[in-house]
Subunit: 113 residues, 2 copies
């Protein structure tokens, strides 16, 4: 029940595409991450994944279109939908969902492991 | 599955303390609201309520302390905990939870009805 500043917490991250849990509520985790470059194509069959872009630019590639996010943009990838986030420059974002997805199954690129 | 800009959506709100639903994921709604002045003391027995301050200043009064939020601060009021948000000047915020709580039971002040 402590407060966390999403901008500062994202700036403190050391590793790309690695989610830091800030809190949990109603079965969901509130996580910050930073990204650069491309994440592998993947889908989460068990959960929707909501992105809120904090800084930079993040494109969520879907099979039928690209969704370009600017700071303040909120976007949910529904469960089961294939996606591949791409950050042309460093991007900071909040992610909301029931579990941490920054692993190989979640498309985390090998170079960031 | 459309994107929404939380800053712009909050600026478009006409009524104080009235939540606008932007989307839903994993059983939770993502809502924006603007506030000024005080909300009545209340608690939500059925849900945690997460605030992310977008602009302005919002103090979440609890019975044992005040939690002062600045832009980017994320804070969850657990289910059943009495609270009373106060905005000394106009504040814009994102709220995440399973249902809309901007009603009399949720402390919405009479003047904003």
């Amino acid at each position: 029940m402590d407060k966390h500043n999403v901008f500062r917490e994202a700036e403190e991250l050391q590793e790309y595409w690695n989610q830091r849990i800030l809190g949990r509520a109603n079965g969901n985790l509130f996580k910050v991450a930073k990204g650069i470059g491309e994440v592998d194509w993947h889908a989460h069959d068990d959960q929707d994944e909501t992105f809120l872009l904090l800084n930079g630019e993040l494109t969520v590639r879907l099979r039928d279109r690209d969704v370009v996010l600017e700071p303040g943009d909120l976007f949910t990838v529904p469960a089961g939908v294939e996606h591949a986030p791409v950050a042309p420059t460093e991007a900071h974002f909040l992610i909301v969902g029931p579990a941490v997805t920054s692993n190989a199954a979640g498309g985390k690129p090998a170079w960031s492991h």
